[in-house]
């Protein structure tokens, strides 16, 4: 006995084709199965490989079935970055890129195509945290990546991981504060990858007190980004998908408890991104900032704060509206989207990714 289309597991949502010889109509349902209706009105629902599921029609043309219901083009997906064990007690929702969780996890819904396949991406400070996660998500989406960091060992490790995701990788140990070394790296990266489409300026000196911190945040957070853009421009101009993302911080937007160079320098960075978005728009290059709130990962700042200043950590955690801190991967996915051709209309924005940590109305 045949069940109506909207009973049972899935409705007709996808491709609908008529068999040019038999006249049968084949339609894909959202659970990946295929519904067949013969010209005489008999119907059946089948797995994409031809196995009968239900309905009075017991057999259908397996070739057309395969075409209508076959697995969608699967994007290259590596084994996602592992979530940190401690995020304030709230489980991190798994991002499964459109997998429906049905039959053997094989079938996928139509995914939004980020248009990243084959793009060449440079991420600074990418051996850990947000930088590493960002490079990983780019690699999973078919990009080739150039990365730098100060420590050789972690960098080699990161490069290996990215390679295992199918990316071509160019890596170099660089001190971002060293203007010449930074520019040489960016140029070498562009040459090695045969161009650059996307630049993510992620390096930061982090928070700290005193005049030394002002200098370090200026040299690394601000000038690091400025110099990267300068050196990358010749490549970005050649690209048909040129885009730059700066990593800002919510510390630039709301008072965090202590006045620091970090907060002010991130504000400078956001302002500069906005300027660049105007001046580079005519050359087809988009510039945006992503400002993360507290991001927790092993070996990261918030882990240290949790141990050294538990009260401050608890306060920050309590301020996160979603009840937990962010993960590097959650920030990374935002960066990757914003950098991708899928965000072609977005430029000059400062996208706050903080799980409700900041309380202002973002008009």
């Amino acid at each position: 006995m045949y069940h109506r289309a909207d009973e049972g597991c899935g409705r007709v949502t996808g491709l609908k084709l008529r068999h040019p010889l038999s006249g049968a109509i084949y339609s894909r349902r959202d659970d990946g199965s295929v519904e067949v209706e013969e010209p005489d009105g008999s119907r059946g629902v089948f797995e994409p490989d031809g196995r009968w599921l239900r309905g009075e029609l017991r057999e259908a043309d397996p070739h057309l079935l395969g075409f209508v219901g076959g697995p969608e083009l699967a994007s290259r997906r590596g084994p996602g970055t592992s979530a940190p064990r401690h995020t304030g007690g709230v489980p991190v929702p798994r991002f499964d890129g459109g997998a429906t969780g049905s039959a053997a996890g094989r079938r996928r819904n139509l995914e939004m195509d980020l248009g990243l396949d084959g793009k060449r991406v440079l991420v600074t400070a990418a051996s850990r945290g947000i930088g590493l996660a960002t490079a990983q998500v780019f690699a999973d989406h078919g990009c080739d990546v150039a990365i730098c960091a100060r420590g050789e060992a972690a960098l080699t490790e990161a490069a290996k991981d990215l390679e295992s995701r199918g990316a071509r990788v160019f890596s170099q140990s660089v001190d971002v504060a060293d203007a010449d070394a930074l520019k040489t790296f960016v140029t070498a990266a562009g040459e090695a990858l045969g161009g650059l489409d996307i630049l993510v300026a992620n390096a930061s000196a982090g928070g700290g007190p005193g005049e030394a911190a002002w200098q370090a945040n200026f040299d690394i957070d601000v000038m690091g980004a400025v110099r990267c853009v300068d050196a990358a421009l010749p490549f970005l101009r050649e690209s048909d998908a040129g885009s730059v993302v700066f990593i800002g911080s919510t510390a630039a937007l709301e008072f965090l408890g202590i006045p620091q160079a970090y907060n002010a320098m991130k504000a400078a960075l956001i302002a500069h991104a906005s300027d660049l978005s105007q001046s580079l728009a005519g050359q087809g290059i988009r510039v945006n900032t992503v400002s993360p709130g507290p991001v927790y990962f092993e070996g990261g700042n918030w882990e240290m704060i949790q141990q050294a200043m538990p009260a401050m950590y608890e306060r920050a955690l309590a301020q996160c509206a979603i009840g937990r801190m962010g993960t590097p991967e959650e920030v990374a996915r935002t960066v990757v989207f914003l950098a991708s051709p899928a965000a072609s209309l977005v430029t000059g924005s400062n996208l706050v990714v903080d799980g409700g940590f900041t309380k202002r109305s973002a008009f």
Binding site: L15, K16, L17, P20, D61, H63, G66, F67
Partner: protein
Amino acid sequence: MAIEPLAPARVGEGERSQGLSYQELLDTDTRTVPEVLRLQSARDLPVVRVPIERYVSREFHDLEVEKIWKKVWQFACREDELAEAGDHVVYDLADQSILIVRGDDGALRAFPNACLHRGRALKDRAGRSKALRCPFHGWTWSLDGRLQEVPCRWDFDHVDRDEHALKPLPVDTWGGFVFVNPDAAAAPLADHLGSLPRHFERWPLEKRYTEAHVARVMPCNWKVAQEAFMEAYHVVATHPQILHGIGDANSQYDAWDHFSRAITPNMTPSPHLKETPAEQEQLDAMMNRSLDAPPTVQVPEGMTARQILAQVSRMQLQGAVPSVTELSDAELADSFYYTVFPNFHPWGAYNRITYRFRPHGNDPHRSIMEVLYLAPYQGRKPEPAPVHWLDVDEPWTEAPELGSLAKVFSQDTFNMAPIQKGLRAARHTHVTLGRYQETKIRHFHCLLERYLEA
């Protein structure tokens, strides 16, 4: 084991489909059609039945290795995989392994991939190195094959440098493809290719880069796999969704010395259809349009789907292909699939596809199918895509670089295991081939026969 001639082939009236012939379709072109598309080969191939044994027996596989794979010119890699001095590629087939190296002098050389000391394969995979150094004891040859270094030379007084030079094998290039021949006494590549280069004069394959390269293990004999891509006869049953936009049974088939060609016209309705579809329906079939979705491209009044498709392709190729405006509708719309004996399938015009099929190790029931997309480019030649390997149970759709064709390949692959199963189970002894539409397969088996007898 021999093929059985039944009758001489004549293709005259009544021996091909009633539809428009390809030559008639060419007469409607909006541009001048290149001469090569006007060529039609002589049709003196015997109609054949092929022994099933050829697809399922290990003995026949061994014979094939001896008589064909050890004797024939075969496509090993693309030339851009060997761009710099020291670049090398390992080409494996059954038990053979050939190392192809770019020398300091820029020349390509091929050597058996075996150390002359105790035999280890010199290289495990493609790479770049200054010399050829065996990882076992470190014997080292220069890129041109001269023995350079033997650790503890005192222990090998008896080893003569010249005698222990790597023995070169014939290697040559055409169309940006590197060919090798395991037979040191082989006739030149040019003899094997015959008039093929003339066919490709207008579509120089050396001016392409490897946009995608996917290799998949197939659950069938290599000939089963390749023969599924040598005719359009299977379209009606295997790819019914495209019948509105493909002149499957109106295809033209030709065979010359060592190569054959099929031409399947697109954007012209299949003669299998009972009613002639509108021009828009022909285009929709190709674009895989849903019944309830608006058309992606609209065929304007007074134009045919074929002209529109050609016009869109001309726009896409602008810049990458010189004098694109002169290309005929046929070159932009139709499929020209060549087979160079034994296993190399470059496509003509701008379709991008090249296939290669070969045995998987020595298993007659497994093979490797490769799809290369060779795309024209503007400016600097992009790096070739690395090989993306898919295992026997990974669908083509796992290779997003194949785009929408992945689904069509999946339909073809859907048949492979059941063909092998049927052939293994068969109690009859031969497969039967069509007189016209399976010309390319018949031609292949005639050549195979010739090699077996040599």
